[in-house]
């Protein structure tokens, strides 16, 4: 058997797996996008000694593609890492540029406080993100977790298709997508984000119409969608594991961008200081970065936002949390799904108010700015799956270097650890490979994986050389 190379945190919990034993795999996981599978490794005594999240997708080299690009080009390119979350990538990229070129932007204004985007732009970007988060969470809860709750293979199984809540979720996804379409021009790769603001063309009639659709959806069928999850609550395993959560800080429940990060026992850090803490490694069994802090895993996403910001949620969202039995400061990875449902409730509560506020704001002309300056900026946003960071170094107004820190990459180390801690006692109790696979798939689902933008490392074995002699 191949000797596995040392890996920082893996050795601490997986033990020696250089001898005999066996390996099983879940096969490709169903998830929002991308290819990944989970491997379990047993020793000769059938004990589980390792759990691996294996991602074999090739590098997309997005960060290299940004070099030499203007801020506008950079945000348009970076969105195209994927069509699942282009809005949040676009906003993270433009925020990085805004921070990097702050001096040039400030020169446009007479304010000594420096450049800030207008309230109109802030609302357009926030509403776009809320629509995207609502859609993403609903797809996860009712497309992946609900079928699991009724013990069928996937959303395509007839029993899943016929669930009324699946149809309701699809109807609400349509409403959410149309909101994002409206405030961005198109929700897939929008072109309305700019350095100085948004150029989306909206009017009061359209905005108030969407507000009414959201209200109607919340009142007519969201309640029943919540009831379904509440009645299926017993299908969610009780499993706790200590975790360090990471999320943006803010005066309101963070579902947009921010400048400070909450990092558990490490406190509240500026985004640039957080960036200096993290370490990205690629384990031998995967091509995706696993991110750790001081060699320890951490978790981003709805569960992290719930951990820190529960009191900032709307009263309706908190009532939904009580209805589905989501405890405060939960350490159960499976509860990420419940936290997502609570965020859906929160978004449905606040969206109509935000759309109405936007309807009362006048259109604005955006100032032009020359991109000729140097600077470094980090755009940090709360994407559906967790905190997304774009770091960019600009020289003469063009990208000299860039990095993206992706939510799923940040969760993979914790996910691997959790998979092992969850499945090991099941293996000790005599679970078969198939039973362990099913259990691990259920846990993996709760993380709402998306491999689409998770940064990958190009490895030497990926390279095909022509005969050179």
């Amino acid at each position: 058997m191949t000797q596995l190379m040392p890996f920082p945190f893996a050795l601490r919990h997986t033990g020696d797996h250089s001898g005999g034993g066996s390996k099983f795999t879940t096969g490709p996981l169903d998830k929002t996008e991308g290819w990944a599978q989970i491997n379990g490794i047993r020793n000769e005594e059938r004990e589980l000694i390792a759990a691996q999240v294996q991602v074999l997708e090739h590098s997309r080299s997005m960060e290299k593609l940004l070099r030499g690009k203007t801020p506008r080009e950079a945000l348009l390119i970076m969105q195209r890492v994927c069509g699942v979350c282009p809005v949040v990538h676009g906003i993270a990229a433009v925020e990085a540029a805004r921070k990097a070129l702050l001096a040039a932007l400030t020169a446009l204004t007479a304010s000594c406080e420096g450049f800030k985007i207008s309230r109109r732009t802030q609302l357009l970007e926030l509403i776009a993100m809320l629509g995207g988060t609502l859609k993403s969470h609903l797809e996860h809860i009712y497309g992946f977790v609900a079928p699991e709750m009724i013990r069928v293979d996937s959303i395509l199984a007839p029993d899943a298709m016929k669930l009324k809540v699946v149809r309701m979720a699809m109807d609400l996804i349509k409403v959410a997508t149309k909101v994002t379409d409206y405030v961005t021009g198109r929700s897939v790769h929008p072109v309305t984000f700019h350095l100085t603001g948004s150029t989306a063309e909206v009017d009061a009639k359209g905005l108030l119409g969407h507000a009414a659709c959201i209200e109607r959806a919340k009142n007519e069928y969201f309640e029943r969608m919540v009831e379904f999850i509440a009645t299926m609550r017993s299908a969610i395993p009780d499993f706790e594991v200590p975790r360090r959560f990471v999320a943006l800080d803010g005066d309101e429940y963070p579902l947009h961008s921010g400048d400070h990060v909450l990092v558990g026992d490490l406190g509240r850090l500026q985004v640039r200081d957080f960036f200096s803490l993290i370490r990205e490694d690629t384990p031998p069994h995967s091509k995706t970065y696993f991110v750790t802090i001081h060699d320890e895993p951490y978790v981003v996403g709805a569960a992290a936002r719930w951990f820190y910001h529960e009191p900032k949620l709307s009263p309706y969202a908190r009532s939904v949390a009580a209805e589905v039995g989501l405890p405060s400061a939960s350490m159960n990875p499976f509860h990420n799904t419940l936290a997502q449902l609570v965020e859906c409730a929160h978004i449905l509560s606040i969206l109509p108010r935000l759309l109405t506020e936007l309807a009362e704001l006048p259109d604005e002309e955006l100032p032009m700015v020359a991109h000729t300056k140097d600077g470094v900026g980090i755009g940090a946003c709360e994407a559906p799956r967790g905190t997304l960071f774009h770091w960019a170094l600009y020289r003469d107004g063009k990208v000299a270097s860039a990095r993206a820190l992706i939510p799923t990459s940040q969760n993979l180390a914790a996910m691997e650890r959790d998979l092992f801690e969850y499945a090991r006692p099941l293996a000790q109790a005599g679970a078969t490979d198939g039973e362990l696979s099913r259990a691990m798939i259920a846990l993996a689902h709760s993380y709402d994986l998306c491999m689409s933008c998770a940064v990958r490392m190009l490895k030497k074995e990926d390279l095909v050389h022509s005969h050179v002699h």
Partner: protein
């Protein structure tokens, strides 16, 4: 009576699969009836459910279609429905093809378009990494665009 023109295909990275986007852009230049909606579904997967279930009575589907003819061959078909290519294994919503989405919408109880017309062009290549459509497919685009516009006018005049 409303018509949905749904074009499909990867717009940038798979050769002749981009013909949908090319036709979409040609249709944008036309003064189509307000009862006609043109949607570029690209590689939308599950997201195709959104325009598909908006209550249109007629669907004109546009895509590259491998029918066995030489590259650039134009096809016009009027299927009754679509056969799903996936049963229960679902890797990702992005990965689902149109026939599977169609059947999912049927099972979820949506009212779908009663009349379906498929316009296809035989591709020369849909290899990943090829960024332009072939000459043969490009030559067929104007004719197919005319056929789609004529189909819209005919359908709307029948109501």
């Amino acid at each position: 009576m409303t018509v949905l023109i749904l074009v499909l295909g990867n717009p940038e990275l798979r050769g002749d699969d981009a013909l949908g986007t090319v036709i979409y852009e040609k249709l944008q230049e036309q003064a189509l009836s307000p009862d006609v909606t043109v949607h570029n579904g690209m590689t939308g997967g599950w997201d195709l459910m959104i325009p598909l279930t908006d209550g249109h009575e007629t669907l004109l589907l546009v895509d590259s279609l491998q029918g066995g003819g030489p590259p650039g061959t134009i096809y016009r078909e009027e299927p009754d429905t679509f056969k799903p290519t996936r049963t229960t294994a679902c890797i990702s919503p992005h990965d689902l093809d149109f026939p599977t989405i169609w059947q999912a919408a049927v099972q979820m109880g949506y009212d779908l378009p009663k009349k379906i017309v498929v316009f296809g062009i035989e591709p020369k290549t849909i290899q990943q990494g090829v960024v332009a459509i072939s000459e043969e497919v490009a030559a067929a685009v104007p004719k197919v665009t005319e056929m789609i516009i004529a189909e819209c006018e005919r359908v709307l005049s029948e109501t």
